[in-house]
Structure formats: C-alpha cells, structure tokens
Symmetry: none
Subunit: 229 residues, 2 copies
Amino acid sequence: MSARILVVEDEAAIREMLCFVLNQQGFDVVQAQDYQSAVACLTEPYPDLILLDWMFPGGNGIGLAKEIKRNDYSKEIPIIMLTARGEEEDKVRGLEVGADDYITKPFSPKELIARIKAVLRRANPTCLADEIEIQGLKLDPVSHRVSLGGEQLNMGPTEFKLLHFFMTHTERVFSREQLLDQVWGTNVYVEDRTVDVHIRRLRKAITGLGHEKFVQTVRGSGYRFSIRV
Amino acid sequence: MSARILVVEDEAAIREMLCFVLNQQGFDVVQAQDYQSAVACLTEPYPDLILLDWMFPGGNGIGLAKEIKRNDYSKEIPIIMLTARGEEEDKVRGLEVGADDYITKPFSPKELIARIKAVLRRANPTCLADEIEIQGLKLDPVSHRVSLGGEQLNMGPTEFKLLHFFMTHTERVFSREQLLDQVWGTNVYVEDRTVDVHIRRLRKAITGLGHEKFVQTVRGSGYRFSIRV
DNA sequence: AGTAATTATGACAATAATATGACAATAATA
DNA sequence: TATTATTGTCATATTATTGTCATAATTACT
C-alpha cells in the first residue's frame, strides 16, 4: 500500500521531474496541471499527500489549498507547497492556509523525498510501510524484519540495508563502489573487499531453499540480486 | 562499462537532481561544482560525456568548453550545455564552441535522458546501457547478462565486452589490433593472436541455433559481427 | 596437388578475482 | 560496567579467467 501523491504543477518539465523522482521512490503518482483537473483528482481513491505549486493557471495554489482544507473529505490530506526561491511571504501565507510544509524550487530530490516522508510519517505512517516480497523472502522496513517462508531471519544492520537495497534494485549489477555508496553511504572510507564479506554474510543469512542464489556474483563487475538463477 | 558522465553545475539542488536522474538510469556520475574541480575530473578515467552549466562560478561554461575542446585528451568528449530558459544567444554560442547539444532549465528527465542517449549513440554506443537484441541474442549491460532465446549464456568478462562491442558495431570488419584497442583498451600489450582465442570462446558461448555464425572471420583483415550469414 | 599463409582449436600454466574463516576493534545493549 | 553483537580487515583457499603456445585445419595461390 504505497502512498498516493497528487502533483499539481503546470510547468510540464517540473511536473515530469517530480513524477520521475516520486515514481522512483515507489510512490503512486497522479498529475494535474490546472485547477480543474486538480479538483477532479480529489475523489476516491484520495491521495495521501498533495504537492502543490503556488502559482499555476486557473486559480492560484492558495486558492486550491483553501478549497482542499474546506472540503470534509479532503481536509485531512497533507499539503506541501512548491514555491519559487526567495518568496518568503508565500511560504508564510501557505502555512497559514494549512499547508504542512513547503519546498523551494529548484529542489534537490533528497530534500523532496525527506520532506514528503516526514509529512507522511506525521499524517499517515501506514502508507510508508511497504513490505517487499520476492519469492517467499519478505522484508519489512517498518518492523525491520526479514522472513523466509514465515521463518524469521537474523542478520546484522548492514546485511539488512544491503538486502533492502538489493530487493528494491533487482536485476542490475552494482560495483562494490556503488554498493558502498548506496548502502554504507557516501564519504565512508571502507575497503572495497569488505563488500565481499557482507555479501557472504547476507548469503548465509538468507540461505533457505536456494534463496542465497539470488545474490549473484558478476565476475569483474560486482554483484547482482536476481530472481533468475 | 556504463557511461561515465561529468556534471558541472554549481547549484547544489540542480546538481543533485541531475545526478539522481542519471544514477537511476545507470550512468556513472561524477560531480563538479566549480571550474577547478571540473578540470580535475578531466583525467583517467575520462568521462564519456559532460553536462555543463552555462553559468557557474570560477569561469563560465563557454570557457570550460573551450578548454575541453582544446585539450587533445578531452576534445572528443561530447558536451551538453545547460542553459537558462530563453537565452537563445547562449545556445548559439555554446554550439559554436563545440557543444553537441543543449538543454534548457528546467528540464524534464525524459528529455534529459533522450538527449544524452542521442549524443552518446553518436559518440560511443558501447557505453549506452541499453539492451540490445539481435535475432534472439540479447545483451543487457544493466544486468550484465546475455541470453539466447530466453536461455542464459555464460561467458567471461572479455567475451562479454567483445560481444557488446560487436553488437553495437555490426556489419563492419575490425582488425585484431582495433579489437584490442576497443575491447581490451589502449596501452595493453597483448599478442594479436590472443584475439583469435577469445573469438573462439565467444563463438562457443553463443552457439545456439547457428548464432556463432554471426561472428565471422574475414581472412587477412580480422573479424566482423554480421547478421547476414 | 603442393605450398605458404592464415586461422581454429585444445591444453596449460600464470594470473586475477572472489569466497571464506578468523580475529581484533568497535558499537550497542543489558 | 559487563556482555554481546557487529564491523572491517586480513590471510588463505578456491575459482574463473587470461594469455600463450603447439598443433591441426583451412584457405589462397602457384
């Protein structure tokens, strides 16, 4: 049950960028480019969050925000406003009207995602809980648990992160360097070969009915998580 | 073997956005936020493409573009300029200096990727991470897999590279020397005849329903990958 | 057919890459 | 503070891959 996000933004390039980023993060995205189509999206299934451009044709953002907050069915939906840089007063007015947060254009994807998650966590934590399952191997980021055919699996935090990354990025080779960046985080000085060791630990941890085969070595390139053995 | 892209952009938010999108597409991304660090990135391993902001501190974009095109080692690297909207003259000047294309901010990820791929396809198709299929023979650089009619094929890294090169450069003879340059890399001292051996290994690996026939010997010249048997 | 040049092939040792087990250092937890 | 779990690194074992050779097979030419 991943979160459904309504993006209201008239400029196509920015809208596409927003949708791209949100999609990559696993959100369900609905787009609207004007007042009318935005209002049309306020029905079942309701979005869990609205990303709202301050200025857009067919009614300004604040107008739409007011409309949303007036309506009983939609007033609980959190709103994040998109404002142009430096327009401080807009932010203030936006928050007054009931926006839960705001983001300044241009925005970094990291910031965007962080703010969205923060708002969702406050408003509706369940829609962030996205359990991943691949052939009986279940990973639940919320409870921070991994199970295989109902059986709980034990592994260290690093193995968990590694598995989480793999399960959300299957069928793709990653070099040790990339894995270090993605799983350990940038600016971390760790030996390349250390990845090997954690790969082994992960394999050992998920060894069940051949599930360790999912973690595959690609000689000369790195590792891959693949269902196709 | 996926393309390495150097992003030169001072504004952190935009830079992060570019990197995010490019990373998702499987490119190797290197960042630079000023003239100095950009120049520092112009060494081994050279980027396959440079995304260059027109205006950035410590020297403008055109200055850096000129510098890149002046240097023998870097002048073959294609450049895509990032310009602010509406600055038509910038685009013209950029193209005059040797930029291969330009993108207007704000940009849609689709457009960005399309233009990058177009430029790379012209300059160096091997580093495009697109899946290639030729008569049931599939090579996917992203997952680093080769299959023939759905069946996985096994081969060593060198054979993989060789096949990748061939599949992106079909219907053309290459001398052993050329293959060594392109597949093994320059400055590698390897016997000419070694190519023969790898050709054999490649043929053996892709032997299916006569697919080994694609790898053809051109007596006295070298080898060719051709669909026409 | 005979010959020289060229390519194909199998075998092999050298090399490079990965797997693994052990260990001390560190961080987390009781 | 004591105890336990986790981490990163090393040394070593295990594989896979590489490049080269010797020899067989093929081709082109006389």
